[in-house]
Amino acid sequence: MVTKEMKSHLDVELERWEEETLHPALRKRPERMPEFTTVSHHPVKRLYTPLDIADMDYERDIGFPGEYPFTRGVYPTMYRGRLWTMRQFAGFGTAFDTNRRFKYLLEQGQTGLSVAFDLPTLMGVDSDDPAAAGEVGKCGVAVSSLEDMEVLFDGIPLDQVTTSMTINAPASVIFAMYLVVAEKQGADWKKISGTIQNDILKEYIAQKEWIYPPHPSMRLVVDSIIFCAREVPRWHPISISGYHIREAGSTALQELAFTLRDGIEYVQATVDAGLDVDAFAPQLSFFFNSHNDFFEEIAKFRAARRVWAKVMRERFGAKDPRSWMCRFHTQTAGCSLTAQQPYNNVVRTAIQALAAVLGGTQSLHTNSLDEALALPTEQAAQLALRTQQIIAYESGVTNTIDPLAGSYFVEALTNEMEQGCWDYFEKIDAMGGMIAAIERGFPQREIQEASYRYQQAVERGEKIIVGVNKFVVEDEEEIPILYIDDSVAETQRERLRQLRARRDNAKVQRTLAALKEAARGTENTMPYILECVRAYATLGEICNALKDVFGTYQEPAF
């Protein structure tokens, strides 16, 4: 973007500025720190100038929104055409409780649903299993059977909302339950839309909620991608997620690089299973974290689009421009919230949400101020949604597309993010791909190192957390907290007892046996899971049937 002549002139001018203006000032007042870094420990220079992006080519590297390489956004009009989807993650207690919260959120102007499941559900364990003790309905809604799913979406027409479901190891079972509810409502599978997270690789890397070993887990993911391409074309069968990688303590770059490399692994596996890349790639979606370091986050989002476009076009030879687009959901960083002075979290979340919007996200969840303490109260959840609405309707940042493009700093940081991705891809490719890298503990170790380094920087006061290691108050006022009482577990146990007594148990056993047979072979498992669900087999029964065939997973020691 800079001619040779301009470059040498600027070089001279920069040197002159340092000599005449900067150095005298530094002698009078040195800078606050010897070194400035992002929250991810990435070095940041004092000043960025055209020299830092001298090698960039506008058309090649930045381009226009809605066109390759999509640095400026995936859509030609971005938020001028349509705002991002405000999608608040919600779920607690029984399906009855969460159904009421969903209806409240829709009344408040939320535009999409997002389901949080409790831990037993996330682990494929029924509410009445002894392993679920103490956890039923605690950090999400308890769903053990089709019956719970029917209650969860009661009175919500599934062909008129889009629903995101955060579910991974048992994703195909929960998805099958959703599809059967749609079927019963008379909603056409071809018209329903939403997302299942279904990203098992990041479970091994970061969140650690797996059931089966990596290879059969990948097969279940590929089965659902193929099933969606054929039967539920508007559904996003996977949301390739960096969020949890970041929450586990990674840097922004690690979040980006591991997530996109996971994406490569899924695309490769699906292509290997015989599907044409353009038949499914447009339905892939991503999910990123938005942390405190404002410009680093914006650069990460912009780089995500450019790297993914190049990967899809160059590595996989995708021809459909929709296959090149990295569409993503963003959630503000839960791990940045503090239990101390919880009202400060409102401000953190607003800054993080603004970064996600300036980074061009397609949907957004803003965390509530009380989430370092418990699940959000209704008031806290409303304030979190209002934060997005104020950005959308009052701040003016939605009036033009990608307003930070051309900033020397943001473009330079975007380039550094991109280069960092290629470097990580090379390492992981050399190990034989992401599954091999996971089995060696590579991404896990990288994240552990980064999280420990960050914690030490906090301890030494090199990184400041307001209210935690600076500006501390002794007597903190308490804030209201959402309490989930243990009657939830009791209600769930009773509902399951009645269900198991009422249903056709011989039919349940037949459908489970048929699923196992399919799992042993190479057929797509989705139609068999749907049959189990229609017969009201429980989540735990279906996952256990698959466990019998696939086995379970132990984390390698490292």
């Binding site: 831990l119 037993p120 996330l122 682990m123 364990v125 392993a131 679920a132 003790a133 103490g134 956890e135 605690k138 950090c139 479970e203 969140q207 650690k208 909620e209 929450e247 586990a248 303590g249 791990c335 919230l337 503090t338 239990a339 101390q340 370092a372 303490l373 418990a374 699940l375 552990q448 999280s451 420990y452 914690q455 906090v458 301890e459 957390i465 209210g467 935690v468 290691n469 308490e478 907290i481 309490y483 989930i484 243990d486 984390e555």
Partner: protein, 134 residues
């Protein structure tokens, strides 16, 4: 004879897989000169108490972020008492609402560390209280 190193068991009970905190603490305590045993994920209260007995630890650190602490922690405490292991210092870290803290202390938990606690404070607490009990 040199003084015996403080032995700490870091455990994650329940179904929760969020182990960032547990691993950071394990490493910090190790760097502070303690012997640290990490149980790995998804341990039952029984397994945790069994490990504490076998490893002859001075302290158990329970990390829970799932909201199940009011069920799982009392189970651990009861088992410790039953096995005559109530000399072991038990501390809890994670997402614990303020009003649960006194309830946990009532069943014998020495301290609860919410998100944002400095590693240095946890290390100091364990060192001072293990010494007092010795």
């Amino acid at each position: 004879m040199s003084e015996r190193k403080i032995r700490v068991l870091i455990a994650k009970p329940g179904l929760d897989g969020h182990d960032r905190g547990a691993k950071v603490i394990a490493r910090a305590l190790r760097d502070a000169g303690m012997e640290v045993i990490y149980t790995g994920l998804r341990q039952t209260p029984e397994q945790i108490v069994q490990a504490a007995l076998q490893e002859d630890v001075d302290c158990i650190g329970l990390s829970i972020l799932s909201g199940a602490h009011m069920v799982l922690v009392p189970q651990v405490m009861t088992l410790l008492r039953e096995r005559g292991l109530d000399h072991i210092l038990v501390v809890v870290g994670g997402i614990i609402p303020d009003e649960d803290v006194p309830k946990l202390k009532q069943v014998g938990v020495a301290e609860v560390f919410p998100p944002g606690t400095l590693l240095e404070d946890i290390t100091r607490f364990i060192r001072e209280h293990v010494r007092q009990r010795a």
